[in-house]
Symmetry: C2
Subunit: 318 residues, 2 copies
């Protein structure tokens, strides 16, 4: 359970006076999440999520909060940060940077079908269109610069074959630059557990705290590598029907250009490498207070090998 910084009802009641959201009705810690302290907060007016930020600094947070606010203003079901009576989205509670955001309905799907993948594709494309007018900038916090640092940190823990594999992959990406591909602030971590569904409709996209400016196609690749696998834990090959449904729905809203399609295979590899590296990092160099079991990095190593193989990265949409 991930409450690193406890908040009592009386502390919250006092803090909520900074906002115009009504009186506290219910406060409930949220067990999921490994980064921040989260609570469900019900008031006489509505349902919210309180986040106390444990990793990100107050200086970094306006990018994320403004991005979520921008998307919500465009009709994307992102959590909308609440402004306080001084008209700011970021506050402080119990010594931590804190924000109150709208609580979105719905549940995540462990095994999305082709319809759900199509819903994701359409929504992702709309997010990308909406994000194009967002003026904020932050580098992708798990982009190439981070890969280089992470690789140095984890290499001592790797056996020779894995070390060689990592070096080869980094060498490949060092040749890949896409200065002309469309970019915007992207979620960059839109795994199945970060999308909420009500029926076929995506009712929420959550956990924007790995967002950054990157190629739109990179964000597409992150999703494909999680949503469209034959089995999300044991078989990293693409399920052709779900991949096709996801990409066709995306392309119906925003058709990628030829240079984006040419970069697709590299994007899938980049998206695989990013999560292989972060899972290696979390396994071998866990941060203090990290209370959950690290995910197995091997899944993403296998996935990366599949994507890097000839024919491993199809774009099955005409």
């Amino acid at each position: 359970m991930s409450v690193f910084t406890p908040v009592s009802e009386s502390e919250l009641t006092g803090w909520l006076k900074r906002y115009a959201v009504g009186e506290l009705v219910r406060l409930e810690p949220i067990a999921a999440g490994i980064e921040n302290t989260n609570y469900f907060v019900d008031t006489t007016q509505g349902r919210f999520v309180l986040t106390l930020f444990e990793r990100l600094s107050a200086a970094d947070l306006p990018f994320y909060l403004d991005f979520m606010s921008h998307l919500a203003r465009h009709g994307i079901p992102a959590p909308a940060p609440l402004a306080d009576l001084s008209n700011t989205l970021l506050s402080t509670l119990n010594g931590k940077p804190a924000a109150l955001v709208t609580r979105l309905p719905g549940r995540s799907l462990e095994h999305p079908d082709a319809d759900a993948c199509a819903s994701l594709g359409a929504l992702l494309a709309r997010m990308h269109l909406a994000a194009r007018s967002f003026p904020g900038y932050a580098e992708n916090p798990r982009g190439q610069r981070w890969w280089a640092r992470a690789a140095v940190a984890v290499r001592p823990f790797l056996d020779a074959p894995r070390s060689t594999e990592l070096d080869a992959e980094l060498a490949f990406h060092a040749t890949q630059r896409f200065p002309d591909l469309p970019r915007a602030a992207v979620h960059a971590d839109l795994f199945r557990d970060n999308a909420l569904f009500e029926g076929d409709r995506i009712s929420g996209v959550i956990d924007f705290y790995f967002a950054g400016v990157d190629c739109l196609m990179y964000d597409v690749a992150v999703c494909a590598n999680d949503w469209c696998l034959r089995d999300p834990k044991t078989d990293a090959r693409f399920d052709d029907a779900r991949l096709a449904a996801f990409l066709a729905a995306y392309a119906a809203v925003r058709q990628p250009g030829p240079e984006e399609l040419a970069a697709w295979a590299g994007m899938l590899r980049a998206a695989a490498l990013r999560f292989w590296l972060s899972r290696l990092y979390d396994l071998y160099l866990p941060r203090p207070g990290m209370l959950v079991h690290a995910h197995d990095p091997e899944h993403f190593r296998r996935l990366l090998a599949l994507r890097a193989a000839p024919g491993g990265a199809p774009w099955p949409v005409s």
Copy 2:
């Protein structure tokens, strides 16, 4: 039925491509409303209201849209205008200024009880607190300057007693200036039909197109003169229990200062005069295309006489 400017499904489907709100599922004209053309618009993403503005000019609209957006950002259940892909809230459709806003759930109450009046009081106070940080400015479009113009326009239609009554009331208000009372952008028309309830909770406050900067207590008075009457059509005397519930709930969130309480009687008279004048105006000088029957002005004349009488404007909250 108030569709002054028809919109077809194919016109709307094309127009919605400017937004990131998904594909059109359903388009339904809204019969209520005498000012603008309104449609319910359901998309694959959510439920919205489309408004084509028939009275207000594009130059005036940013104040209203920004104010609604500001309130929604603060957790007030106001319709949130959607930004289009160029990141603006105001658009054009079929030659009219147009906006797409979130559709709020709930139903208005014809006969609110004391609990509903208390919900209104608390919400109104929260709106006022949130509005204090809104930087936009527009004069109350039905404020003292409008009263003077409206009085000139309707006086030829009044009999001698009513003309005398109007002149006396205008003379009274000419002596009333409240330069030191707290002001903000206020709704200024929050009648029962502009609040939506789900159970005891106000789930929506709608129709902000008479908003302007004015004394907060004027906004309180507008509500009291509609929500807290013994009978909203036939008996303009206050229902003591509902008035007390409304004002106590307001004061629990934002306690008016002594100078605001001293001004309360004058505020109730101002709020009565504004609606007497506008109903006279709509009765005698209807705008072309105004398709609904004008409300009877006499209700507000009687209400005004009651408020102006000694003891007619109590503040029953200690």
